[in-house]
Symmetry: C2
Subunit: 346 residues, 2 copies
Amino acid sequence: MNNINLKRLALRLNLSVSTVSKAFHDNYDISPETKKRILKLAKQLNYQPNTFASNLRTQKSRTIAVVIPEITNNFFALAINGIESVAREKGYHVLIYLTHEDYANEVSFIQHLQSGRADGVIISLSDSARSVTHLNNLRNKDIPIVFFDRIYDGMKATKITTDDYESSYNATRYLIELGCSKIAHFYYSKDLSIVNNRMKGYLQALKDYKLTFQKRYLVGCSSNNHENYQLIKRHLTKANRPEAIFSSFENLAILCYQVCEELKLSIPGDVQIVSFSNLETAALLNPSLTTITQPAYEIGQKAALALFQALDKEGTGLSNEHIVIKSELIKRNSTTRLENPSFRKP
Amino acid sequence: MNNINLKRLALRLNLSVSTVSKAFHDNYDISPETKKRILKLAKQLNYQPNTFASNLRTQKSRTIAVVIPEITNNFFALAINGIESVAREKGYHVLIYLTHEDYANEVSFIQHLQSGRADGVIISLSDSARSVTHLNNLRNKDIPIVFFDRIYDGMKATKITTDDYESSYNATRYLIELGCSKIAHFYYSKDLSIVNNRMKGYLQALKDYKLTFQKRYLVGCSSNNHENYQLIKRHLTKANRPEAIFSSFENLAILCYQVCEELKLSIPGDVQIVSFSNLETAALLNPSLTTITQPAYEIGQKAALALFQALDKEGTGLSNEHIVIKSELIKRNSTTRLENPSFRKP
DNA sequence: CTGTTAGCGCTTTCAG
DNA sequence: CTGAAAGCGCTAACAG
């Protein structure tokens, strides 16, 4: 083991371990020359302090954990991008945990994170999450939590969401103003806070515009896309098929596209579609997709900033702030195109 | 600090620390009843062993690091998915580092990883990577490295790529067989292994089919998409504009789409486009996009498996295997559609 | 089957 | 300005 450590470094310099250690932590009294000598040899020998030893000693990991349902989804990918950008700036490391919408995974991850592996946790709840004792356990160990998008309201913690209710309301109104009266809403995971809010916005818009709500236009989907495909197909084949679709999730909208293609329904000629979606490139490729787009990168950044704030004033009582960020209704139709496409920034 | 640890657990049970410790490491001799007692109290008190203490002691972190250029890219997102799936199965944790194609970031991440924070590293090189002393430093600390997609050939390590040369050759041939003779190739980052191989496949196909290579159809792009947009526009406005485009990267293909839209060129009527792309949904939304699609999830899995193999037989000499995985040419045109869309699996 | 003990490598107080 | 020493929490060899 030619591994270099403080002790060996000290030995070669005829200094004590503590002196050498101090050289790496500026604030200590140590003569400039010795410091220079130490740093020089350290660089030369390519010395890297052992993370675990210092973590153990200081009880800090300089690491945050991000727990999300999935990553092959532009919203979460962008959010991680935002989180990583501020974490790196602060010299923190980022652990990733993917629940794949499985509550058991979520519990096991959170349970493990009590080990101190991370100083704080940013989480977007899994689809099937119910009990939250695992989250309470974590909190009892003074590990701060920040929720984003799929939040749990019952815990004192910073939460970051978008204006799901308002944007859904506006999207529905947009469809109504286009002249549609038969507007279907496709959703799943009724237990998720966001799903609920989106549905409420939809229902309220119908109400305000005096459209009678029809139960058959409220379509709860499952997590099985093949089943969903058939379900959607059935709905678009019926005599009374909807003139417009408002979808809670991008992948449901994509299924709608595929169904329309199979059924030779033109979009937006036969059916209008508006969906939550952050898949900018998809939208760019298909000019008839109107989307509600969440500023995922900013959400990620905000979440990370909130977490660091909590870490800084640790113990001073937890923030219970609920930050709501505006999402954008991006209207497109076959004749207009997006100006200044922002590509896959940043 | 109400934090529970081995010592406190032992105290409450009137046992020694070591006995308690043994209860958590099955293989030791310890009476079934004591073990049960210990585990019971541990669960009750919600005990979680301190990661850093055991890491420090065992010199193992049960953590791997993934260093990639970006994450808002379906290829890398899927790859992480694959990596995470096998890591979780093995009880490993995953650290994420995003270089944003910046070599300085790559160096600093790798430099830090010598601290032992991770047992091994999976990396796809940054765009601008040149010197590899940082990688050598890491290797000197016996931290295994696995390369994927954007590999560095000069180091003894497992490397996983797709058949870039062959798939590019086939894609080019496909365009030729459609009757195109003026085929442009758009690329960037000539230093990347994959870019080189893709270009070679393109050139060889031209040669084999006796098409004279024209320098102006070989278009090197930059990392600035706004510049690229203009560049592509210029190329598609010229009198002698290409009949087909073969693009090394998805985002360049998307720019082509946008340019075509602006110039009112129909795809595939006026211009055929084939591109490397893993953005399945985008392809689904736009039926005229023909893609070379890499099995990113499998690549991630293979990379992780290779890394764990290296970790297992640590010191027994490094593997220098180069695994090549086939990518798929998915042909689409406006009249056919994909059968059995796999959605965003898995 | 259980306990004692010696560190892993680092930080940090305290004494010189 | 430098050094000695204690200890973070855990593991594992060794003794009993």
